[in-house]
């Protein structure tokens, strides 16, 4: 029996979908069988990031309304033999066509066949959010280290704490920019965790390669040399229960001499 994990944030644009895609990919790379569900009905993105948008035939609404079987709607990711699947959202409906009961049933139907069911939640706290969390056992909150995003994450955690079927949520801080941390312009990692008071499961650095990867229709997690990819793979290992220490970000000292020293010592 697998676990259903919802990836949520409250605020839009902080990296829920990127995180869902990369965590799903990382878990599959670790040999787990994963099903990704895009619940952002009407504004789907996950299929694009996974590079599967041309292969959508049936979608989530077709499944819950009984127009097709689950396995007909699932799209297999060709990077793997039989590990990574996507259940896409329709682009031409809205979030109210599905209710919580249908989502609970859908996810409980999927869980026996997969190790992890990863649910990509839409922004906001309306029906789409309630659908996304209805069947989840665990929740991962994604936030950036900006006050508006942290405030929304706080609201979401408050809502999730009321849901008794979900374990206490865990936190991913996304798009940490090392240079801003040094200049005291951004809330730092401690500031965010101190504010939200939930367990931190990972910190993702900001990297242009994420956007490049999205345009190449291949999640960054496939690239073994990238630090973002590494961060996602480490989170996947933490989800599996390994204890992987957090890699410090932005902790390198900034002066010219130290850069020079680093240049000689690393290369």
């Amino acid at each position: 029996m697998g676990e259903a994990i919802v990836i949520t944030s409250g605020k839009g644009g902080v990296g829920k979908t990127t995180t869902s895609a990369n965590l799903g990919t990382s878990l599959a790379l670790l040999g787990k069988k994963v099903c990704l569900i895009d619940t952002d009905i009407g504004l789907r993105n996950l299929d694009v990031i996974m590079g599967l948008e041309n292969r959508i035939i049936y979608d989530l609404v077709d499944v819950v309304e009984g127009r097709c079987k689950i396995h007909q709607a699932l799209i297999k990711d060709k990077h793997f033999e039989d590990l990574l699947y996507l259940l896409p959202a329709p682009q031409n409906s809205d979030k109210t066509v599905v209710n919580e009961e249908q989502m609970r049933k859908l996810i409980s139907d999927l869980k026996p066949d997969y190790d992890y069911v990863i649910i990509d939640c839409p922004a906001g706290i309306e029906q789409g959010f309630r659908n996304a969390i209805a069947g989840a056992d665990k929740a991962i909150i994604v936030t950036t280290a900006e006050r508006p995003a942290v405030r929304d994450a706080d609201r979401i955690i408050g809502l999730l704490e009321k849901e008794e079927h979900i374990e206490p949520p865990q936190l991913i801080i996304n798009r940490i920019r090392g240079h801003l941390l040094h200049e005291d312009e951004e809330m730092d990692i401690d500031g965010v965790t101190d504010f939200l008071k939930i367990d931190l499961i990972g910190v993702i650095p900001d990297d242009d390669q994420v956007i490049v990867a999205a345009n190449k229709k291949e999640p960054i997690a496939y690239n073994p040399d990238n630090r973002v990819s590494l961060a996602y793979r480490n989170i996947a290992r933490r989800i599996l229960g390994e204890s992987v220490p957090l890699t410090p970000i932005g902790s390198e000292p900034k002066g010219f001499m130290s850069k020079l020293k680093k240049f000689f010592s690393v290369r």
Partner: protein, 227 residues
């Protein structure tokens, strides 16, 4: 055996005024009738006599609001008398429960997050933070062992004596009874530890170091003794 007719209404004079003892075993209509008779038989007041306060003691009888009104009405018919207080030995369960709720400290360990409103009838002891956009509300005092960054409303039913104390006092707003205190635009990074808020005589909300509470709210000390 006492042959004398049962006195349902007894009038006693005290130094603060009259005390009316109403018997609790007779029927209410009997009581009302006798009260009327007793009061009308009394001394006729002069125009310039001072008004006299009357305390009404109803013993073990429970009076609802209408009945209380009726008794007051009868007494007020006498021009110089006014009802100062109605005393009864009994409470309804609801009243007792409310009284208990309003006088107890509710302890909770949680973080009050954005969008959440947490309300208690009595005092609140919160072990945790109040985050921005979160609200705590208490009929009595609010004690926060954590950071207050949201809104705290003490004495929200109109208790001006209520106070708010927090380990870290950086609220968005403080409210005590009907008064609102808006936060400064910027908090200094240090120096908001262990502070309290209370209302002074001019109904301004004052934020001060915790030590001053002893001076302004001595009633907060419920335990006597110690060193």
């Amino acid at each position: 055996m006492n042959k004398r007719i049962q006195q349902n209404v007894m009038i006693k004079g005290t130094k603060d005024g009259f005390m009316l003892h109403l018997d609790d075993s007779c029927s209410f209509s009997e009581l009302l009738k006798e009260l009327e008779v007793k009061l009308s038989a009394n001394y006729q007041f002069q125009e310039n006599d001072p008004s006299i306060s009357v305390k009404v003691h109803t013993g073990n009888r429970y009076l609802d609001e209408q009945q209380e009104e009726k008794i007051k009405e009868v007494i007020h018919k006498k021009k110089k008398l006014f009802v100062d207080e109605m005393i009864s030995n009994v409470l309804t369960k609801d009243e007792a429960k409310r009284w208990k709720d309003e006088n107890q400290v509710t302890t909770v360990t949680k973080v009050i997050r954005s969008g959440q409103v947490f309300e208690v009838p009595g005092d609140l002891l919160l072990i945790g933070d109040v985050n921005p956009d979160g609200t705590v509300r208490a009929g009595g005092n609010i004690y926060i062992m954590g950071q207050l960054k949201g809104i705290a409303h003490a004495g929200y039913k109109g208790n001006n004596e209520a106070i708010i104390a927090a380990s870290v006092m950086k609220p968005a707003q403080l409210r005590i009874a009907g008064q609102v205190n808006l936060s400064p635009d910027q908090y200094t990074k240090w120096g908001h530890d262990l502070e309290c808020a209370f209302m002074d005589e001019e109904e301004n909300i004052i934020i001060e170091k915790l030590q001053v509470l002893k001076k302004y709210r001595p009633n907060l000390n419920r335990l006597e003794g110690g060193l």
